[in-house]
Symmetry: C2
Subunit: 300 residues, 2 copies
């Protein structure tokens, strides 16, 4: 049976392993830990790496909070008991090099005192320049975790990710997707085994791409494009991301919630890349139908 | 009696006069006009100045749109007729110099085919460094327009502005306020006379402050603070501003709506200015109760 102590313990270890992996890649640049307590109960550890040689900003945040169910939460979840418990790890990595994609992932567990419990989470990739082999690698690793656990519905969760990370006001996907699952209330032992498998493979999914791209030479042109697209990342997180909006509206810890935002962003009126450029190719991809990135030969 | 043709004509003239005033101050840097049509009816002219010597980004946007009332609008306004007409001018000025405040203003008029009509609008100032004399000047000019028109409730509209331009997740005001009024459905002729008076004095309210501050020497320290605070501006506009959210959610013209965003913004985890600095003084002001900036001797 899943239980809070095991989940918290795994999440703390996951936070440690993931941040250590990023630090190794970033020539030893360490994270700074900010340990905080929540007024209503519980707390967390927000780990930030800023200004490293390759990673401009990363956050690997653990939290385990509990207490009286906030009214807003109760209304959203259709009456969910008088008290709640929530734990999770949220990750964002914003590399400095425009050829290296941004990575985001989240694993979480929720319980209420009326006996309900569920898992949620996912991972997704946001490139600024498209390298198909990177995207295929990323999706294959996520699919691998799903394929090892019959409880995981890769096709549905891949589609949920494409639908979630979408900017209706731009008609653009935020990135090239990944996995998104939420409110998994059944078969909790199996879901928990899957979630641990996924968490254990997120460095495999992302680090090889980072290693491949972080030393690519780039100029002011790529930097401007990077910052314009980071503006879109801000737009998604502040306008559409349910977790961010909910956190900010219900008195969540603002600095932890907004640690997902890129270090810089730029807004240029009516910015459109020149036709037949790598920038235009990315936009065409993001404005088009989502692709099935694992429908390629998987013999590798 | 107020009528659409007179209002549109005044708004177009106001757009022209305000953008000309900014261009004069910015050593002749011109605005670029982007004329657009709305699928459902009407259109507008978005005027952008970007990369001027003193003004990093400004938008002075006119629109006059009409058509079938969108379902979302009808629900928000509690059933408002089958068709609507809306016209307005929206202004944002983001100067390059951190000692020069950002300016925002808006005048608008709305009609429905069931015979209802109203005005709304306002103006507000967002400094990055506090110069009390600038803020007093700004509020006095706005109050002057109110004092000339008995229909204008300066105290209530000043308070509404303080309440509207507030970031609950930061516990901070966006800036030092100004005026905010909406849904003025009574005494439309008087309200219209007031609104024209206000529009005619917005250059007086802002330009002298700009002229005073745009040449102040500054270093990387002030620039970083400027960009961090511009991040707050983005947070307000994308998370809390009702007009922005509504526009993006109902298929408004994204580039025009988001022309209010600053050209650059920065997010630094847990950024707090050193105590006893001008940056800390500004934050203390923004985190404290709103001040009555016109309760000073007005003999000047």
């Amino acid at each position: 049976m899943v239980n809070r102590a095991d989940i918290e313990s795994f999440y703390r270890g996951f936070q440690e392993r993931f941040s250590a992996g990023i630090t190794r890649l970033d020539d030893g640049e360490p994270f700074t830990a900010d340990i905080w307590a929540r007024d209503g109960g519980g707390g967390g550890e927000t780990r930030i790496l800023a200004g490293g040689p390759h990673i401009e900003k990363a956050a690997v945040n653990f939290s385990a909070v509990h207490g009286e169910t906030p009214t807003e939460l109760s209304e959203r979840m259709a009456a969910m008991g008088a008290s709640f418990y929530a734990t999770g790890v949220s990750i964002i990595v914003h590399p400095r090099n425009p050829y290296a994609p941004t990575f985001h992932a989240n694993v979480r567990y929720f319980e209420t005192d009326d006996g309900r419990a569920w898992f949620g989470g996912g991972a997704d990739l946001t490139p600024y320049y498209l390298f198909e082999e990177d995207v295929i690698h990323f999706h294959r690793v996520l699919r691998g975790s799903c394929d090892r656990h019959p409880v995981a519905d890769h096709a549905a969760w891949k589609q949920a990710c494409d639908e979630y990370f979408y900017l209706p006001h731009r008609g653009e996907a935020r990135g090239v997707g990944g996995l998104f699952f939420d409110h998994l209330t059944e078969d909790l032992d199996e879901v928990w085994a899957f979630q641990q498998d996924l968490a254990d493979h997120l460095l495999d999914a992302y680090l090889p791409i980072l290693e491949q791209r972080i030393a690519t030479p780039f100029s002011a042109r790529e930097s401007l494009w990077h910052e314009v697209r980071r503006g879109r990342y801000v737009e998604f997180n502040l306008v559409w991301d349910r977790g961010t909006k909910f956190g900010l509206e219900t008195g969540g810890r603002t600095e932890s919630i907004l640690s997902s935002l890129p270090p810089h962003a730029v807004w240029v009126y009516g910015h459109e890349p020149e036709p037949d450029t790598p920038e235009a190719d990315l936009l065409t991809l993001l404005r088009g139908p989502a692709r099935d990135w694992t429908a390629f030969p998987t013999g590798s």
